[in-house]
Symmetry: D3
Subunit: 233 residues, 6 copies
């Protein structure tokens, strides 16, 4: 089962077995992008907009989580062992920190384990190399500042990353617009809603391109008038 134990008991813990969101449904979320998926969830689940890609990318995957301390990346090596193909590592820090927790060596290791991306609420470095390697990263900062390996954190516990709660196994959808978290149990339902939304948008796009106004396409003129909108010359 995937129920969180209280957070404060979880320092120094690595959970090996987690229930991952369905692989195929998670994989299918990538092409919708973070905006459509977030809308399909009822406008929920987004990380804060300071979480940005270091290079343009669009991916989805299942979350393995890691909780680290400021200036200490020891647990990044511990989480590497828990990665399975299709996973996205989601890294949270116990206090604000912009240090460079992750670079080309760790990326080499993560890729060898099958990781699809990293989402980290701190800084990364070797960004040019990461681009050349084609390993997608979303981070709060870019910083050459190195870290130490002194204090235990945890792996695969619930974490708060850039303002969003992430449970191990949740689906992550990330692109140039941001990062959204889909609870594992809802992935299929969200995929369907996103597909519906996208299908609707195709028709709307054609109308708008033809010069139809959103005012008419969405039948907004009545509600706007009722709300009191006044046109003057």
């Amino acid at each position: 089962m995937n129920m969180p134990t209280p957070l404060h008991t979880q320092l120094g813990v690595v959970r090996r077995n987690i229930v991952r969101a369905d692989a195929a449904a998670t994989e299918a979320l990538a092409r919708f992008g973070s905006a459509t998926v977030h809308e399909a969830m009822g406008r929920m689940g987004l990380m804060k907009p300071y979480m940005r890609p270091i290079h343009s990318a669009q991916v989805s995957g299942t979350a393995v989580t890691v909780l680290l301390h400021p200036g200490d990346n020891w647990m990044m090596h511990v989480v590497a062992e828990q990665i399975r193909p299709g996973d996205i590592v989601v890294a949270a820090i116990t206090a604000d920190c912009s240090d460079g927790y992750f670079g080309d060596l760790l990326a080499t290791s993560f890729m060898a384990r099958g990781a699809k991306a990293l989402v980290i609420d701190a800084g990364v470095r070797d960004v040019r190399e990461l681009g050349a390697m084609g390993f997608p990263v979303w981070s709060k900062a870019i910083s050459a500042k190195g870290t130490i390996k002194a204090t235990l954190g945890s792996v695969n516990v619930p974490v708060v990353c850039a303002g969003a709660l992430v449970q191990p196994g949740d689906a992550i959808v990330a692109d140039d617009d941001g990062v959204v978290v889909v609870p594992a149990a809802d992935v299929e339902r969200v995929r369907e809603a996103a597909a519906k939304r996208e299908a609707l948008e195709a028709g709307k796009r054609a109308q708008l391109a033809a010069g139809v106004l959103g005012l008419d396409m969405y039948a907004m003129r009545g509600p706007l008038e009722q709300a009191g909108l006044v046109y003057i010359d």
Copy 2:
């Protein structure tokens, strides 16, 4: 039971019955303050330091949570009904917002319901009146900007407030140093650890006041030398 359902299903939901942390143990946490309680939890559970008191105060209480939308305080009236004496309202917003969600009228209502404080990841207003009323508030901002009442949020769902996960019923300890969240199941254990820590500190304080150095009191000279510390003239 208190297990969270996935967040995105929870817009438009009010949970009436929540399991609150033990009232006496929660009440007892206040005098330790946020720093000692946070240490007693293994240095976990703190909200980000931008969460500041609008007036100096020190309280503890059980969390009733509310999730609101940017610029919309409709659910503040819904949460008022769920307040029981001894509660602290913890308000989270689905996106960054500094608007003034709360003022003297809502404070009057919250106080009449027995609320001990408000912790809100947004702005408040009427801060002079709130000080005169003696109602403690921790917030991200102070702003006269008003809000609308148009969109549903939820009450007593798990929320992320200033970077910390808060489950309904958790204990909240807030003072001039910040705000810490104690999972309901751990309140008694944390109280004991905090009491021990405080007892130890009293003896340390006396020694330090007498001129004993922390270097000696904590037996740090050996470890520092071993780590390579060099004294030069």
Copy 3:
């Protein structure tokens, strides 16, 4: 007449005669405070919430405006001459700057001219002395950093201060919640609306203190149900 000429033609200009908002009506706005006045204006006219009082205060007055350059407070001496009793000086800068443009000497001069307060989109210094003198200031920063006197700005031109457009002669209402700008032509209308709003609030406050819920007082239960709000146990 008070119509703005294009902004870029106005460097190096001092307008001596401005149409000030009605003195009595402006004076009467102070006691309502910025939140009530802002609501009475249809939730418009607020400066951004980074504009904070250096000491708790509540005032209203008519705006004389000054536009300065980063790190240059020359025009503060020019605007002093244009102050009339009851005025509040509103100072804008052509680019972001936190330097200390204003201290106890300028405050002495402003008070001698009858100024009621300063609102400045930059820094001030001598804040302890300003508190002792009882001269209210709202600013973006506190900084000991001094300024030079090298470049012309303007006095009594329209300025953008902390995100709000201020025309010379507009009424300014400032308190611990923030700063609001009332167009000169609307002061009496806004005063009436604010008085009405305040009168309504008195009755509401009594009900809320007696334990009536906002849900009932504002008849929100129907609209909430219609919007889909669900109560669960």
Copy 4:
């Protein structure tokens, strides 16, 4: 005429007829870029530097303005109808907000109406698609966060966008250095000043490339010595 009525009376208003800056002169401003145009205006008219292009671009056009509420993009559909070929939509928000007000559907509609760009003091989304479509956008943030359609704002009223006052019909010049606002009445005069400035710069560039120092080219050595500059070895 184009004189602003007081701002607070303007919620819920759409002005259909505005006086646009001369089309040819406005068009001609683009190639000078924001830095040269801003200098030609006496170093005035710039938006704050947080206003950044989502993709490299350089354009000019006439402003149609829209005032929106935090988290609410209803008026974006209203402003679409007021766009004429050559316009740039300038969007201001009544309080700080980073939500994604604009994406590929609205861009499709704006392009069909002839809009040349969007400048928005908030967030946008679908940034990859916007790049593929070739629709230039300057914004404060990128965010997948969706918005609602609940509250009236206004169209073609004076707005404050990123610290700059924009009147409907003003010329906007935007490039990778930022965004500058040219009052409609001054466009021709500014165009001439910018052309002169640019002509002068060509000669200077050649001299500097040949190794002539600015110290000599601008005859600065005398003034520097007079100001007290001392050379030491």
Copy 5:
């Protein structure tokens, strides 16, 4: 001698003997305050304005410096031993951090050693207790977040604190306006310049209070006219 060795060789070093600025002259700087002292130094030496007092205070003293790592306050105990009566501890961090490095226990120790204040480019906690103890602190943040003791820093090496270079033994002047650093060799010269400046200000204050304008007192009307200032009605 007090010449800095290269910074990167200085991790893990404690310098015991430093040349402190003259005690009497340093003591005498306090009453001038940071603004006057900074002006007396030619508008140099200020820390950035985010360095704020946790409680109103005005002090001066000689700097003992400490360089710490993010989230690690081990060296605070090492620096305690190097404090002499009249010193102010200046703490710098190798990367941005807002954790609470300092609380009432360390303050007890610092006071027992004769320290007059702490200036720290990070966070502190126990702020209510620090106020009650009367120990002045300037910091970047207030945070209950605890720190570890794992990595060596240095004591009495040159540090950059809030943007200012501080050499061990320099004089520090701190008040509600900010913090200024006076090189040890210049304290007497700066004291004299500050005294002169203050004497001049007394006369100016009297004139301004009597209604004389700065325009006349500083003979600014000529230079302003020459610069092109135009008065219009």
Copy 6:
């Protein structure tokens, strides 16, 4: 000799003869990048991560420094004359400022003098042209805002730039990860340490790519167990 005189005596000073770091060793640092060099220095010497390249680049060179005032770029022309081939200009400001101090004309002059790059704790403009010219710039901001030429600063004095102390002649290494300062006396030693570090990384990279875990490669399992790490299923 290269010992700094007190900072406040140095306004209005240009030092012509500085001791530059060894040219060949400085040149050799570029290929290691800022992260490796910073690690080779014991994790010291980095500027704050807000210092970002305006276009992707990787360079090293010897520092010529310039200290400027907010909004005033006069000294940029003075420093141009002091540039020798292989230098990187490091520009510090006496207070926070984001104005555009530098554009294509100054870049033309700097390139003609042999400068390899600019690192500036303020804003720059003409960023598209700078990219086309291939002149690398690291800055705090991009802004079209122009500057004046009114107040003296200094050239080749010690400066604090983005939180790092830079002595004239120090080596600067800058890339997409940030900017690091190497004291002139340490360049050869740092070069050797960086080369060793890089050689070690090549072997590690191969192992990690082959699927070896950092846990095993770095022999972390023992220390992690000793620290109390617990694996659960």
